[in-house]
């Protein structure tokens, strides 16, 4: 620790505060990385090294057995390979449709305000906060009625619908930063609704789309309750449900659970690592309003 906090010579007061800052920051680093450490060492242990009393020991050799079991299944474990594919099939269309809808809504609510549009926006926004338990039973009934229960398209529909509030919010706030003069100028030039959208908004929208896409991708990938209720069929369920099911099984296979957890975490983590800037912007856009 002290090696990091090299003080500028002759400034004792600052030096001590630096020591405090760095010790705290490293203590928190430990707290945040401890689970990651456990996750990694456990996932890469071979089965004969897995023992709770040697939980914290480093693996003596590198093994992918746990991943193999978590991915392909065996010994009472249902592999997550299929679920992974289900999640992909769910996330991609849901994200694309969400982006389009959100963009259109944001455009209307920021540039085509009408009497009551603010009220409508607030009403839509409320949908973001509701506990989904309060719509669950009717949702199942309706999905069954329209023959989409226990299907991936059904899950896509649900994620798109309940994604409307957040995607609308992000796009609306994003488009609010586009100067109205640009829109007015286009109107004077005679552009219509779609003309303005195409020529003014879309060219400026790329960051908005990236932010919304990342947001929707990670939150749909990570979602659990809808997957649990709507597609619990092992053939159809998304990864989060599969992982939870994995963790319900035996004690001795906890290394498989860890490997499974890592697999589920991987796609959003990759997004975070490579598109962290946009990820963060999405987070903040979803919270800092206006």
């Amino acid at each position: 620790m002290s090696s990091v906090a090299i003080p500028a010579p002759g400034r004792r007061r600052i030096r001590w505060s630096r020591v405090v800052v760095y010790s705290l920051i490293l203590a928190f680093l430990l707290f945040f990385l401890l689970p990651v450490y456990l996750l990694l060492i456990t996932s890469f242990k071979s089965f004969d090294q897995v023992s709770l009393s040697r939980m914290w020991d480093l693996p003596t050799s590198f093994s992918l057995e746990s991943f193999n079991r978590a991915w392909n299944g065996g010994e009472g474990v249902i592999g997550m390979r299929g679920s992974f594919w289900n999640s992909v099939q769910m996330v991609v269309p849901a994200t694309v449709i969400s982006c389009i809808l959100g963009s259109l809504n944001g455009y209307v609510l920021s540039k085509w305000r009408f009497p009551g549009s603010e009220t409508l926006f607030t009403l839509i926004l409320f949908g973001m906060f509701i506990p989904y338990q309060s719509i669950l039973v009717p949702l199942v009934e309706v999905l069954r009625e329209i023959r989409l229960y226990a299907t991936i398209p059904g899950l896509v529909l649900v994620h798109v619908v309940y994604g409307i509030p957040i995607t609308t919010l992000i796009f609306r706030n994003y488009y609010a930063t586009v100067p109205n003069e640009l829109v007015e100028a286009a109107k004077i030039d005679g552009a219509d609704f779609f003309g303005i959208y195409r020529s003014v908004m879309l060219p400026l929208s790329a960051p908005g789309f990236v932010v919304v896409a990342i947001w929707q991708f990670t939150s749909i990938w990570n979602e659990f309750l809808f997957g649990l209720i709507i597609t619990n069929d092992p053939q159809l369920r998304p990864v989060t449900v599969a992982l939870q099911n994995l963790s319900g099984s035996q004690f001795t296979q906890w290394n498989v659970q860890m490997a499974g957890a890592l697999l589920v975490a991987l796609p959003p983590l990759l997004v975070y690592i490579f598109l962290g800037k946009y990820f963060l912007r999405g987070l903040l856009a979803g919270s800092l309003k206006g």
Partner: protein
């Protein structure tokens, strides 16, 4: 815009064009508005209706019983315990996230080396599913047969000579102080098993709060702080009287965001403890799931869901209204 010029065929009839565009705008937002009307408000109404029927068992029943189900759930020790747990979880979770988030933001903002690295590490749990967090922390907080044959962090403590720090964690059955109040069928206090759950939740969300505060800190003009320093203010005074007040709107947003996540919490708890020991970590979200889909008490489950909704609405609706007012003013 440039291409749009070709479309400006009839400037004289602009007013009508505008109207048509308005109609298109309305048409474009209509599907979303309709979807929200049905899937949010319609379904909520439907659930509210179910909560006033006597639907039990797998076959739907529609006979109206008023608020009986609400009386039933509120009179059970289990739901009372759920409410207690929810309050404890929310308070601890909010307080810890805000304090740690602010602390992290200040630390990261203190011109440290490898700032980007630390910031990334603190935020990354946000990218994970609560299920992943639950699975990993479940093993960290599994106490084992401690103190002699521990597992998880108890083992880590033992191995690093900090054995005295071992605890029962998620299996701790104590409620502190555990007062009994006449007429209540639960004990008042902090269910100790909730603490590890809060730790896991804070692990996941405090980086997010840090990011919010960091954005806020960076938005405070240095001149203001400099001016105060010139006037002889200490660093603490600058922080206390300039920085903190300027971060207030962010704190409000954070409370709303974290608050609604907390009041709805489900994934993390079902994975990490399943509500055990006893009902000491069970929250209404879990209870609704259990009595609806396990005990087939659909009407009572709907009543629990409605209570959850009302609690969230109490937090969020004033904020949305406030937010709308300030926006209209702008």
């Amino acid at each position: 815009m440039q291409q749009a010029e070709t479309l400006s065929a009839r400037p004289a009839r602009r007013v009508r064009w505008m109207n048509r565009d308005r109609a298109i705008a309305l048409l474009m937002i209509a599907p979303s508005a309709l979807a929200i009307a049905v899937f949010v408000y319609g379904f909520i109404g439907w659930t509210a209706y179910i909560s006033m029927t006597d639907w039990r068992g797998l076959a739907i029943s529609t006979s109206f019983v008023g608020f009986d189900n609400y009386l039933t759930i509120f009179s059970t020790g289990r739901f009372q315990t759920n409410i207690r747990n929810l309050i404890v979880f929310t308070l601890f979770f909010l307080a810890s996230c805000l304090v740690i988030g602010l602390l992290l933001a200040v630390l990261v903002d203190a011109r440290i080396r490898f700032e980007g690295f630390f910031r990334s590490v603190y935020i990354f749990p946000m990218a994970l599913s609560f299920i992943v967090t639950g699975v990993v922390w479940q093993w960290l907080f599994a106490p084992g047969n401690w103190p002699n044959d521990p597992t998880g962090i108890n083992l880590l403590f033992k191995q690093s000579g900090l054995g005295f720090l071992q605890a029962a964690w998620t299996t701790d059955t104590n409620v502190v102080p555990g007062w009994r109040i006449e007429g209540l069928r639960t004990r008042i206090g902090i269910p100790m098993a909730m603490i590890p759950v809060v730790v896991a939740a804070v692990w996941q969300m405090s980086g997010f709060v840090m990011a919010m505060y960091l954005a806020g800190l960076r938005g405070i003009p240095d001149e203001i702080k400099e001016a105060a320093r010139v006037d002889g203010a200490t660093e603490w005074q600058v922080f206390r009287h300039i920085t903190l007040p300027m971060l207030q709107p962010i704190t409000l947003s954070a409370v709303i965001i974290l608050g609604h996540i907390s009041l709805k919490i489900f994934d993390l708890i079902i994975t990490m403890t399943g509500g055990a020991p006893g009902n000491n970590t069970e929250v209404p979200g879990l209870y609704m799931y259990e009595i609806t889909f396990k005990a087939n008490k659909f009407a009572e489950g709907a009543a629990v869901a409605m209570v959850m909704l009302v609690v969230v609405a109490l937090l969020v609706v004033p904020y949305l209204i406030y937010n709308r007012r300030t926006e209209v003013e702008r």
